[in-house]
Symmetry: C2
DNA sequence: CAAAAATAGTTGTTATACTAATTATTTCAA
DNA sequence: TTGAAATAATTAGTATAACAACTATTTTTG
């Protein structure tokens, strides 16, 4: 197939849009990180994401957390290490399958989540609050198309 | 101000959209990383971004590269270290200001860029090719609004 | 001009991400 | 049912990212 003008246009446009996507995601992460730091949260945004997942479903295995958060197994091992050091979670061996842990929130973990939830909600409000619903919906739809374009082969 | 239904809706929607944004940006990065690895490129996507910036403007200082790529100074120091080790760039002291380096592409650097450009273009095509122009434009516009929402206070 | 402030770059520490290799356990299959 | 394959988690190595502290210059300013 020849390299048509339309194709060249897409290639050029996609250089910019890839840059904008990366840039915005990075800034978003910084924004939440700074909000947590300003609140003396004692955890990172990635640790928050794991805590929040456990808040939805306590006792997940590490691989289940990995899948839910789109992080990989070694990363989850280390995040859980840190959360256990801080006594926000604990590892409980799964009697059904002794290769696994059930990761459980401690009372201190639940307390920390409750304390930080307003911080996170404020940060979300600041990031997205000024956008019309339909723009957010459109964004999510488009991002998901891109995500799925890449999922087919990259999930090997 | 009371916590209206509309505000709650935004907060809930933004939990999802933040997740989708992060997830898509991460997958996008993996996609380019894997494309480079498959081509035995010998560089990472972050190193590519720096090379590409130098291809546009050779001889930039490290801080200029940092600004252009939205990376920070220590990160650029380390990326340039690696690119110089691979002999794709070289540091030349700026005679006008001896605190600075001019970072210059070597002939090997130009060659590598030329070799990898088709790989990158293919990867871009795969990521964005299926999307109508107007969706991409809309995405970029929305992402930029979010980016600017966060830039005001986070760029201290 | 000399001291202070600003700037460019480096280094160190901690955290996350990816890959590969390793251990322990469980499941599958001949 | 035992040996092979698969699975859950860990560990190690390299790269990126944020932050802080530091050195070497340059600019400001008093």
């Amino acid at each position: 197939m020849a390299n048509t003008a339309a194709q060249k246009d897409i290639v050029k446009k996609s250089e910019i849009s890839g840059f904008i996507l990366e840039r915005t995601a990075k800034r978003m992460k910084q924004h939440f990180q700074q909000s947590l730091a300003a609140a003396a949260a004692g955890i990172t945004i990635d640790q928050w994401v794991v805590l929040q997942e456990l808040d939805k479903q306590n006792g997940l295995s590490q691989l289940e957390i990995a899948k839910a958060t789109f992080k990989d197994a070694p990363t989850i091992t280390r995040i859980i290490d840190l959360l256990c050091q801080k006594e926000l979670t604990q590892r409980v061996i799964d009697d059904q399958d002794r290769r696994r842990f059930k990761i459980q929130l401690t009372p201190k973990g639940y307390k920390r989540i409750a304390e930080l939830m307003p911080v996170i909600k404020d940060a979300r409000q600041k990031a997205w609050g000024g956008l019309p619903d339909k723009d957010i919906d459109h964004l999510v739809k488009t991002l998901n198309i891109v995500f799925n374009n890449l999922s087919s082969e990259d999930t090997k």
